[in-house]
Subunit: 140 residues, 2 copies
C-alpha cells in the first residue's frame, strides 16, 4: 500500500515551488524543477498538468513562462497534492463506497478502516508546506 511514484514526484515539485514562493514574480521552469528534485523531466510534464487542473499551481507558456503555486504554502497540504494525483485515500474500497459490500454495518472490519482513514487524512491535512519548510530550516 503506497502512494504512486507520480504522487511522490508531485510532492517534491510542490516543495520546490513552496521554497521559491517568496520570489513572487518569477516562475520556475519545469526543467529546473526536474533537475533539482531528480524527477524524470518528460514525466514531470504530465504531473504539472494534473496539478494545474487541480488548481494547486498556475502555469504559463512561452519564454519566461513556467510554474508557481496558486496559493500560499500555508494553504496547501500534503493531502491536497496526494489526492490531486492519486485520488481519494480510501485504504479499502468499502470506506468511500459502502454499497460495494453487502455486509454493510454487519462487518466489524469496516469501522477499523474508516477510523484509520480519518487518522491518516488528518495527519496529511495538517502537514502544510509552510510547516514543512520551517521544519527543514530548523534542522540546518
Amino acid at each position: 500500500m503506497q502512494i504512486t511514484r507520480q504522487a511522490d514526484y508531485a510532492l517534491r515539485a510542490m516543495l520546490y515551488l513552496a521554497r521559491e514562493y517568496p520570489k513572487k514574480d518569477e516562475r520556475a521552469a519545469t526543467s529546473k524543477i526536474a533537475e533539482e528534485q531528480e524527477i524524470p523531466a518528460s514525466f514531470l510534464a504530465k504531473i504539472i498538468s494534473q496539478l494545474s487542473i487541480a488548481g494547486l499551481i498556475q502555469t504559463s507558456r512561452g519564454a519566461k513562462g513556467g510554474v508557481r503555486l496558486a496559493r500560499k504554502p500555508e494553504e496547501i497540504s500534503l493531502l491536497d497534492v496526494v489526492e490531486a494525483i492519486d485520488g481519494p485515500i480510501s485504504l479499502n474500497e468499502c470506506v468511500d463506497d459502502p454499497s460495494v459490500c453487502s455486509f454493510g454495518d454487519n462487518c466489524p472490519i469496516h469501522e477499523v478502516w474508516c477510523e484509520a482513514k480519518k487518522q491518516l487524512v488528518r495527519k496529511l491535512r495538517d502537514a502544510t508546506f509552510d510547516k514543512l519548510l520551517e521544519q527543514q530550516k530548523a534542522k540546518v
Copy 2:
C-alpha cells in the same frame, strides 16, 4: 491508495475462521468460506495458500480436510493479514528503504510519512480478531 482486493478477501476469510475457531476439531472448507463471505471460489485458493505460507492458518488436504487458524484470534491482527498478502505498509517508497531517495534526512516530507505509517500500523496491529468478534456481538 488502497489495499488490494486480495487483502480484503483474506480479511473476510480470516474473520470467518475466527468465528469458527471454538470448534477446535473441525476444519472449514475453502468452498464454504467462499460462499459465505462472497469471494470468487477459485480466487480464494491462491489467497489461502499465501496465508498458509505466512503461518496464519493451517491447511490439510483430502476428505475432511480444510482450513483453520494457526493461532488464537487474539494473537492475529489485521496488520498480520494485510502484510501477509500485500507486503509491508510503507505509504511511500522511502519509508521502508531510505536509500532510494538521495535527499535523505534533508527531506521534510519523509518524516511525515514515517509518522503516518507508525500511526496506521499501530491501529491495525491493535485490531485483533477477538476484538472484532466482540464488537460484532455487541452490535447485535
